[in-house]
């Protein structure tokens, strides 16, 4: 197990290194410069600024410097926010994104498992039809439409929750719901398909022959076996949602990282782009590793043996 983990963590580091390298050169290919008022600056001033940030050196040297610094945990200074360290910029903004993403995943996945199971148990009835319809809506309605509808009805008309801004828990409700739509829809479709399969299998027939009640069968036998493939989807989905949605964060004025990322790309804030990209990648890789570990817990057939086979 320890050997397996060590191997996986080594590959994780390697992946991050490759992503950092590729992103670095792609970023340099983007048109424009980090200066937003270039026309008004004299060549002298531009030279001073470039020297300050090390942008006057050859690209390969900038690359080597960046990788070495990053390996030591130094991700450079942001261009757009008067020399704030990127690490500080990220850490001060990741909180709201993680909270919203986490809440959205919990709400979406639990609701999805519930609705998906119900759909499978009542296959080809109106219950199944309705939940399929809702899931398809969840997948196909863009999050900004849902966000605005939620703001209008739950926020403005019913005055249940604040429309936007960031304060206590009540401020998180609407953005959480807007974000939860897609994990809910994905989970419920997935669980339905899987559980229909599982409910038709021989061991469920045996469970019925044992005299278990319908609920007992779903709870003790069908659920766990239906969740195995879901784990594969949830990992990457969690990473994607936790790192913030630009659209939802913008609409609800959430001071999160998603919004920040887009801004950084628009103004060529190289260190911030690199920093956020690496953060996303690290989170995704970590989720994939976690997925494999959780797999072993749920499904004894793929449990990792002591010898790391």
């Amino acid at each position: 197990m320890a050997r397996y983990l060590a191997k996986r963590i080594f590959y994780l580091a390697l992946t991050l290194f490759l992503i950092a390298s590729i992103t670095f050169f792609l970023m340099k290919l983007m048109p424009g410069t980090p200066l937003n008022n270039q026309a008004k600056l004299s060549p002298q001033q531009i030279k001073v600024i470039y020297e300050h940030y090390g942008l006057n050196k050859p690209v390969w040297q900038q690359y080597v410097n960046y990788i070495l610094d990053a390996a030591h945990g130094n991700f450079g200074l942001s261009f757009q926010f008067s020399d704030q360290p990127v690490s500080y910029l990220i850490s001060s903004r990741i909180g709201p994104s993680m909270q919203l993403g986490g809440q959205a995943m919990i709400v979406g996945v639990i609701l999805g498992i519930f609705v998906g199971s119900l759909s499978a148990i009542r296959k080809n009835t109106w219950v199944d039809g309705t939940s399929t319809f809702i899931s398809i809506l969840g997948i196909s309605i863009p999050s900004f439409v849902l966000a605005i509808l939620l703001q209008y009805y739950l926020g403005l008309k019913l005055q249940l929750f604040p429309i936007a801004d960031w304060g206590g828990f009540s401020y998180t409700v609407l953005p959480t719901l807007a974000l939860a739509a897609s994990p809910f829809a994905e989970t419920s479709r997935f669980v339905r398909t899987e559980m229909v399969d599982v409910l038709g299998s021989d061991y469920i027939e045996l469970a019925r022959a044992k005299g278990l009640s319908r609920m007992g069968i779903v709870w003790h036998h069908a659920l766990r076996n239906s969740l195995i493939p879901l784990v594969t989807v949830i990992g990457p989905l969690t990473a994607a949602i936790m790192t913030g949605s630009m659209v939802v964060e913008n609409i609800f004025s959430v001071p999160g990282i998603g919004e920040q990322f887009v801004k950084s790309i628009l103004v060529n804030d190289y260190p911030t782009i690199m920093g956020v990209t690496l953060l996303y990648s690290a989170l995704l890789c970590a989720m994939l590793l976690l997925t494999d570990l959780v797999y072993g817990i749920i499904d004894p057939r793929i449990r990792i043996t002591g010898k790391g086979e």
């Binding site: 021989d202 061991y203 469970a207 022959a209 044992k210 005299g211 278990l212 195995i228 004894p300 057939r301």
Partner: protein, 375 residues
């Protein structure tokens, strides 16, 4: 017929339709049979003859698109077909248990086998986890799993096919059911393992005095296992009798065909007998005897009118017009004639079993106490 009092299961005039997109499949037609305490009844027939549907009805586990058109399935006098879901659940696994064909897929892959064996006890007898586990362990030893104390915490994928079928048997028998339905329990196993599983079933049948309904298409297996045999064809029982009567004095041409296609050590090299043709389409079963089209001995009446059961002996009936007093005498296949010769000789010697049950049936393990095995 036999004394009704000792029949624990009585199926009468059972007729079941399946509603499918293609139309109504008449899967079971007028099936009647009974099961006595301690006996083994084999139901034999080819795929699609309705064997499995019959047992699913007894378990109350028919698919949603099945409709019971007619008939009763009485367990100790109470009609299973009229029971609520709750009542059925309380019988399943406790009084009537089932073993399935494929041990590779009939165990939950994510649950420890000990827990799977203990489950019926927890559900039906409300045992505590410890008590149920303890009895599950005893059961595991009883079905011949070595190292049971350690293996009880293993998962199904850690066992071979034969071992898994032993575990399935343990699950089925853990509540000491009165009826065990074995739906082709050895079909998915290789021959040496088959013999072991059959021996185990016979041994356990005596220990816990259960009756067995044994579904199979393998007549070779039937000879060693059953007390009585019912032969099914196209959703109907065409002949039934004691195992000796069916094997040595068969009357229905379909039974002749089945026995004739069974290879023996004397079978000439290179040639296996078979029954030509395929079973009729049950979406639109033919009028008359459904076997008529494949029957070399078919007469005109076979295509017009379904034959009733003709009595051969008190325990032996066959539905073929050949037994009608007016029917011409026909010569059965050589192999069948050979068997009938044996039958005559054994009848004179008095070694033919006519309705007597092999196993004594009351050597129940300990006494009727539920904990007979546990403590």
């Amino acid at each position: 017929m036999e004394n009704a009092e000792e029949n624990i299961l009585e199926v009468k005039d059972l007729t079941i339709d399946f509603h499918t997109y293609a139309g109504t499949v008449k899967a079971i037609r007028d099936v009647s049979f009974h099961l006595k305490k301690g006996e083994t009844l084999a139901i034999v027939g080819e795929s699609g003859s309705g064997k499995t549907v019959t047992t699913k009805t007894v378990m109350g586990l028919l698919a949603n698109n099945a409709e019971v058109v007619e008939g009763t399935v009485k367990f100790h006098g109470k009609d299973i077909l009229k029971m609520s879901q709750k009542q059925l659940e309380s019988i399943r696994g406790k009084d009537i248990a089932e073993i399935f064909q494929d041990p590779m897929t009939s165990l939950d892959p994510t649950m420890k086998i000990g827990k799977q064996i203990a489950e019926p006890l927890r559900v039906h007898k409300g045992y505590s986890r410890e008590k149920a586990n303890k009895q599950a362990l005893e059961m595991l030893k009883l079905v011949g799993i070595t190292n049971a104390e350690e293996r009880i915490n293993d998962y199904p994928h850690q066992f071979s096919g034969g071992m898994r079928q032993r575990i399935v048997i343990a699950i089925a028998l853990v509540c000491y059911p009165e009826i065990l339905i074995a739906d082709e329990p050895t079909t998915a196993l290789d021959v040496t393992i088959q013999a072991q599983i059959l021996d185990l079933m016979k041994e356990l049948q005596e220990k816990i005095s259960t009756s067995i309904i044994f579904i199979t298409h393998d007549l070779g297996v039937v000879a060693g296992m059953a007390d009585r045999v019912a032969v099914m064809y196209a959703g109907k029982i065409v002949e039934y009798g004691t195992v000796d009567e069916i094997f040595y004095n068969p009357q229905h041409p379909y039974t002749w065909g089945l026995l004739n296609s069974m290879p023996t050590l004397d079978t000439a090299k290179g040639k296996l007998e078979s029954i030509p043709g395929t079973p009729p389409d049950l979406l639109d079963p033919p009028a008359g005897d459904p076997f008529a089209a494949r029957n070399p001995y078919a007469m005109k009446i076979d295509e017009q009118k379904e034959p009733p059961f003709f009595k051969v002996s008190d325990t032996h009936y066959a539905a073929t017009w050949l037994l009608h007093p007016d029917a011409p005498h026909v010569e059965p296949p050589v192999e069948i004639k050979r068997r009938q010769e044996v039958y005559k000789q054994r009848l004179q010697a008095g070694t033919i079993n006519q309705g007597h049950i092999h196993s004594t049936g009351n050597t129940r393990f300990g006494n009727d106490d539920d904990d007979a095995i546990g403590e």
